[in-house]
């Protein structure tokens, strides 16, 4: 992924963000290498947006060090942002302007020549499949179209680094798949992607490496595969019983079967390398579930294990 000696594109050490007395990002360390797709996963309020805003040099670092493209955001903000594209969590499009004018105006902020902006605008509208809507106002556009426009807009300066804060939240499956495909294309062109998401499938699809954040800290780091291998089992057996069955008692009976049993209000989850064998053993021990499901361990299992099942806020 990274050539030895190639400095990371983003390097954070003890990176901290405080709002008054509240610690939103609590001393995190990470490196993002040139050309990779790096993800921040975490429940609401984990500190993902706060981290992204610091990387985008839009929010000052409270403590620790941060280097983006080898530069210090505190002193080189405009230079860093000139080479960086941002897709913010909340759209900041001008609803009264047309799709095309949104791109033109944004390109001017980067001091790009008008002719070049017009050229890139045509390409980007094509890229985001917005050509037909080019002269429509943004106001009546659906959330999915707006999101695609925001992504197109972030590319007007042909950035080396693209920051995407929940790029597909609120989009329908078709729109999400289109966005994924376009982001994958950018990655192939050598653009470094840093994204936050609540979607495990998005993280698995797009991210070479990711960190799981919880309450301002990094709970785990690795590739999706590594995280599953480390924090979960190959397979998961889900057992459902009747409403009157005592789940905890049933879980006790499964002691030793698989590596871990999790008791949920509506079912038992048995983490194991071999779910079929575990099911046979459960039956041998006298358990008779109403229904069961054998599935692979997923990133979602890792996420829930590390960040807990209770709501964040």
């Amino acid at each position: 992924m990274s050539v030895d000696g190639d400095p990371p594109l983003i390097q954070a050490r003890g990176l901290t963000k405080r709002f008054g007395g509240f610690v939103a990002v609590d001393g995190i360390d990470f490196d993002v290498h040139r050309g990779e797709a790096f993800g921040f996963l975490g429940p609401n309020g984990a500190g993902k947006t706060s981290t992204m805003r610091m990387i985008a040099c839009m929010s000052p670092v409270s403590a620790g060090t941060l280097r983006v493209m080898g530069l210090d955001p505190a002193t080189a903000g405009p230079r860093i942002r000139a080479r960086l594209g941002l897709v913010p969590q909340d759209d900041t499009l001008d609803l009264e302007l047309t799709v095309r004018d949104n791109l033109l105006v944004y390109g001017r902020y980067f001091d790009l020549p008008r002719k070049l902006i017009r050229q890139r605008t045509d390409q980007l509208l094509e890229f985001a499949q917005l050509t037909e809507r080019a002269n429509d106002k943004v106001d009546p556009l659906s959330g999915g179209l707006r999101r695609r426009l925001t992504i197109a807009r972030s590319l007007i300066s042909e950035p080396d680094l693209l920051l995407l804060d929940e790029p597909t939240t609120g989009l329908d499956p078709q729109a999400r798949h289109l966005v994924w495909e376009r982001l994958y294309r950018l990655k192939q062109q050598g653009v470094t992607l840093v994204l936050t998401t609540h979607y495990m499938d998005e993280a698995e699809q797009l991210c070479d490496r990711l960190v799981i954040m919880d309450k301002g800290r990094i709970a785990a780091e690795g590739s999706p595969r590594q995280l599953i291998d480390h924090h979960c089992t190959r397979e998961v057996l889900e057992l459902r019983f009747g409403p009157d069955d005592d789940h905890s008692a049933l879980a006790d009976k499964l002691d030793g079967v698989g590596s871990r049993v999790e008791v949920l209000p509506d079912r038992l989850l048995l983490y194991t390398a071999n779910a079929d064998a575990a099911l046979a053993e459960a039956t041998t021990r006298g358990l008779s579930p109403e229904s069961w499901l054998v599935r692979r361990g997923t990133l979602e299992d890792v996420f829930l294990r590390l960040t807990g099942r209770s709501l964040a806020d």
């Binding site: 709002f19 985008a56 839009m58 929010s59 000052p60 903000g77 405009p78 230079r79 942002r81 000139a82 941002l86 913010p88 909340d90 759209d91 900041t92 499009l93 001008d94 609803l95 009264e96 302007l97 004018d101 033109l104 105006v105 944004y106 001017r108 902020y109 980067f110 001091d111 972030s154 300066s157």
Partner: protein, 259 residues
């Protein structure tokens, strides 16, 4: 050649103005025409008949009123541009945030917007001057200098208001600005009658308003009796308020936008 960052953020405001320029130009003409007709000519015919001529400096009410209204219109236009659009840039359209994701800095965003406010007030004031001239109100060619004075009057309001709005969460305080600051100042800062007509106890209140300084200087320029010392005093006061407002806005914008 690179374009200065603040000019790039100004470009946004001029660009979006292309959407609304017809409506605002039309009202820019209509308002002075209506006011000068109703108050300058209509009400003025009564005033001219009944007031002792020395009370208005020996000129007709229209001649007295027009330059004062020009300063007041500048105040209103500047207030309009420095309140809702600032809240919008922060909270509604989030234009400021869009700009700040690019090489522009908070100060560029602020200066660009303040430049736009100045441009908009110049436009309104220039139109006002034209209407005023059509009514035959100016008594001296120095009246053209009333346009920059009106712009400065506007900025003395715009910069502190922008700085204040950046600290607020809703537009309720903006409504309060209009109710408790703009309307009283519009009525009592010498636009419609000389401040000397106010009870002595509250006169000093009128003297501290930026509008009184703007009205006084615009009127003196229009009548052709401006003295350098008085002009300098008014300008210095308005510049001071503008600069203080800008310093405040720099801080409040930074703490709101780069948190």
């Amino acid at each position: 050649m690179s374009t200065r960052p603040a000019i790039r953020s100004l470009a946004y405001w001029t660009y979006q103005y292309r959407r609304t320029w017809r409506a605002t130009l039309a009202s820019g003409f209509l308002m002075p025409v209506l006011y000068l007709t109703a108050m300058g000519l209509g009400l003025g015919s009564l005033v001219n008949r009944h007031a002792a001529p020395t009370r208005l400096g020996g000129v007709s009410y229209l001649v007295f009123l027009a330059p004062g209204l020009m300063a007041a219109a500048a105040m209103q236009s500047a207030t309009m541009e420095s309140t809702w659009p600032v809240m919008g840039g922060i909270k509604w359209t989030k234009t400021y945030h869009a700009m700040l994701a690019t090489p522009l800095r908070v100060s560029d965003v602020l200066y660009g917007h303040v430049c736009w406010m100045a441009l908009k007030v110049s436009l309104v004031s220039t139109i006002f001057l034209g209407v005023m001239a059509a009514f035959g109100a100016p008594r001296s060619p120095e009246v053209v200098l009333a346009v920059p004075v009106a712009v400065l009057t506007g900025l003395a309001y715009a910069t502190p208001f922008a700085g204040f709005v950046a600290t607020r969460q809703s537009d309720q305080p903006i409504i309060a600005i209009y109710r408790f600051l703009i309307i009283p100042m519009f009525l009592f800062s010498g636009t419609f009658f000389p401040v000397s007509q106010l009870p002595a106890a509250i006169r000093p209140l009128a003297y501290v308003t930026p509008l009184w300084h703007g009205v006084s200087l615009c009127r003196a320029l229009s009548l052709g009796d401006a003295t350098p010392a008085a002009a300098l005093g008014h300008v210095a006061y308005l510049v001071a308020l503008t600069v203080i407002g800008l310093a405040i806005a720099r801080r409040t914008f930074a703490s709101r936008l780069a948190a």
